[in-house]
């Protein structure tokens, strides 16, 4: 099983955050502890603890925990319908948890980029940012200075007088992220910031994320791109609302049970049920106690055992969970 080095923790030590009001701790589950344990870095953080959310009759999040430490980038990964958006909405305060505990800074210290980018298409780039800066209480001088810097770095200076509705998807996402971090939040929550964004703009987005983290923000973003998640300090993998694996990318990779092989053709039989395509090859996962070393297949035809990457590890984690539920794997 994957290691879980960090659990949800309470507000940062040292009392209230800059900005005035006390941090918010939503705890509909009265059995939840008053303060969560600090994370392994000792710095504390914001996050969710054993949070469940229902959407009508469907359980969208099932006892999911996450900690977002200051200065750390956390990636939430998973396929469509995994619960990524629900998790981020809970963290940002847009979704109330059904049970569990949410710990977040006061609302003025949160920056949130929803999947829709949260921008007004009939306002210009500058007008959108001016609204956001004013709503978060920035002075005109602060707003001018920060907006100019971010727009310049994101390559949007020339577009500052364009209507947001006329921007490309990538430009809109970059602008949405600037709007979310213009007030230098303690917690920055980004819902799929890089979806539909070209590689150059993705690099700009990563600069903005890194800038926020080095400035002390706890950054939590969701993505379907596991190569992107590998750059995060902590990864939370979700599947159908359940927490599949949590840890650093290396920890998640190291924690997969069994071995992984690369083969040219999709294997038949039981092996085929644990195989998936990666590029021009197939990956085959052999749970502990099975595979070519223990079974009839052996030799070069079985394919070499390879070191999995994060994408492989998350897939294996999903398959392993299925086997555990079926009672075939301990």
């Amino acid at each position: 099983m994957t290691s879980r080095p960090r659990r949800a923790s309470g507000p940062q030590p040292g009392g209230p955050q800059p900005g005035g009001r006390e941090p918010d701790s939503t705890a509909p589950d009265s059995t939840a502890p008053d303060s969560a344990a600090p994370d392994s870095t000792g710095r504390g953080g914001w996050g969710l603890q054993e949070v469940s959310v229902w959407h009508d009759d469907s359980l969208a999040l099932d006892h999911v925990s996450l900690v977002a430490a200051a200065g750390q980038v956390t990636a939430v990964v998973g396929g469509d319908g995994a619960g990524k958006t629900t998790l981020l909405r809970c963290l940002a305060g847009a979704q109330a948890p059904g049970s569990g505990r949410v710990s977040r800074p006061e609302v003025r210290r949160i920056g949130y980029l929803p999947a829709s980018s949260g921008l007004y298409p009939d306002l210009t780039v500058a007008e959108n940012l001016a609204f956001r800066a004013a709503a978060y209480g920035l002075t005109a001088a602060q707003a001018r200075e920060q907006v100019a810097e971010y727009l310049d770095r994101a390559g949007l200076t020339a577009a500052r007088d364009r209507l947001v509705g006329q921007l490309s998807g990538g430009m809109r996402q970059k602008l949405g992220m600037i709007a979310a971090l213009v007030h230098r939040p303690d917690l920055l929550v980004l819902d799929e910031p890089s979806t539909g964004v070209d590689p150059v703009s993705r690099s700009d987005l990563w600069w903005l994320i890194a800038r926020a983290a080095t400035g002390g923000s706890a950054v939590v973003f969701s993505t379907s791109y596991l190569d992107e998640a590998e750059r995060a300090g902590l990864v939370v993998a979700l599947d159908a609302g359940r927490e599949l694996a949590t840890g650093t990318p290396d920890e998640i990779v190291a924690a997969i049970p069994g071995t992984l092989r690369a083969v040219r053709e999709r294997p038949s039989g039981q092996d085929g049920l644990r195989a998936w395509r990666r590029g021009g090859h197939w990956r085959v996962w052999d749970p502990p106690g099975s595979g070519p070393a223990a079974g009839p297949i052996a030799g070069p035809a079985a394919g070499p055992v390879i070191r999995p990457d994060l994408q492989d590890a998350v897939t294996v984690a999903a398959l392993a969970r299925e086997l555990r539920l079926a009672g075939s794997l301990r």
Binding site: D29, S52, V53, H63, Q95, S99, G118, Y225, A240, L323
Partner: protein, 394 residues
């Protein structure tokens, strides 16, 4: 083409609000218009003053050209001033002042259709009376009419709108329509746009109080509606010569109350609409009855009683009265207070409902159920995770 037709029907079936509007609205309009669409005023309320006030009821007894006079008050001790006050304060459509050489008939011109009906009925009364006065046989009502002539040929005066101009009564009413249009339609569109563009979720997590967002959304429309109102009044007065005889302060107070109601309605509509199309549909459903039943086009007294009660629920009915009464008849606040009281009550109810809805609008989305289950049961409603079929998570 068949596929296209099937698709359209499927979409239509799921858009129940549009479907309801397509089916219910025509029927509703037909019924309402059928009962409401009448310019015919059949009863004229009359106030009689002067020493022979008691005889007026007998003289006006009967139906003249389809119009019946209903003497609602008789004050032998009162004179013309009292009679004018009765008209100004809306207690009668017509007043008869006796005691002079000739009786004076005063007609409220601000009630355009009632005034026209009164003139027609008075002419009918005279037609009945003349043959009797000339020694002919008395027909139905003729004797009474002839007795009326014995009081002297009446001197008819039309007050408040002497030329019976349509513009004089329409423009004060149109001011109300402008306020409804901006207040209900434009406001509801402006608010629901936040939901449609996805910025509502952003607002919900920003450090803005519900009150700030609420007022921030409606104040611009309040200003726009006020400017619109000023333009309509200026054009009405300058170009159409509509008089403004009453107190601007009383008019402004009425407009303020009415705007609160309409802006609240706009927010309420937006809070139950998922998109601008739905908001427009609902706004039209709110707007149309107000235009048709508020007395703006058809006199309230002409609307069948079974439908008229709807008119008395609509805010425009009351603003229409306030607007016309203040502009044309200089009616004071003391006579209009029931209208103001109703608008204030309606405003309080609607704004409270709108605020509650708006608060829910901006609150974090609630979790569907608060079930405590052991971990590992998520996705119970979904197909099981692939494990029997290969997949590429990227």
């Amino acid at each position: 083409m068949w596929a296209m037709i099937v698709k359209e029907f499927r979409q239509l079936r799921r858009d129940r609000r549009t479907l309801a509007m397509m089916i219910v609205m025509p029927v509703l309009l037909l019924v309402v218009l059928g009962y409401a669409a009448s310019f015919d005023v059949k009863t004229i309320s009359v106030a009689a003053a002067g020493p022979q006030a008691g005889a007026v009821r007998a003289v006006l007894h009967g139906t003249f050209d389809g119009v019946t006079f209903d003497v609602v008050s008789a004050a032998p001790a009162q004179g013309r001033t009292w009679a004018q006050d009765e008209l100004r304060d809306g207690r009668a459509d017509m007043a008869v002042v006796t005691g002079g050489a000739r009786p004076a008939v005063l007609i409220d011109g601000s009630q355009l259709f009632a005034a026209r009906a009164a003139l027609t009925a008075l002419a009918g009364l005279e037609r009945l009376a003349r043959p009797v006065a000339a020694g002919g046989a008395a027909g139905a009502g003729g004797a009474a009419a002839a007795a009326g002539l014995a009081l002297g040929t009446p001197q008819v005066s039309i007050l408040y709108n002497p030329d019976l101009k349509t513009s004089d009564i329409m423009i004060p009413g149109l001011a109300g329509v402008v306020l409804v249009f901006v207040g209900v339609i434009i406001t509801s569109l402006g608010v629901v746009r936040e939901r449609q563009t996805g910025t509502l979720e952003q607002l919900a997590v920003m450090p803005l109080r519900t009150r700030d967002v609420y007022l921030g959304k409606i104040v611009p429309y309040f200003v726009v509606a006020t400017v619109d109102l000023a333009i309509v009044l200026a054009v009405g007065i300058a170009i159409f010569g509509v008089p403004f005889r009453g107190s601007p302060a009383v008019f402004a107070l009425g407009a303020l109350e009415f705007l609160f109601v309409t802006l609240g309605l706009g927010v309420l509509i937006s809070s139950v609409s998922q998109n601008q199309g739905q908001a427009i549909q609902l706004a039209i459903m709110v707007l149309l009855p107000q235009v048709l039943l508020s007395g703006l086009i058809f006199p309230l007294s002409s609307i069948v009683v079974g439908v008229r009660w709807i008119a008395y629920l609509l805010p425009l009915t009351y603003f229409n009265q306030i607007s016309r009464c203040v502009m044309l008849r200089a009616e004071p606040l003391s006579a209009l207070w029931p209208y103001f009281a109703y608008l204030a009550l309606l405003g309080a109810v609607i704004v409270t409902l709108a605020t509650l809805r708006f608060r829910a609008f901006l609150a974090p989305a609630p979790s569907g159920r608060n079930r405590h289950r052991p971990p590992g049961q998520a996705g119970a409603q979904r197909p099981a995770l692939a494990g029997t079929a290969p997949r590429d998570p990227a």
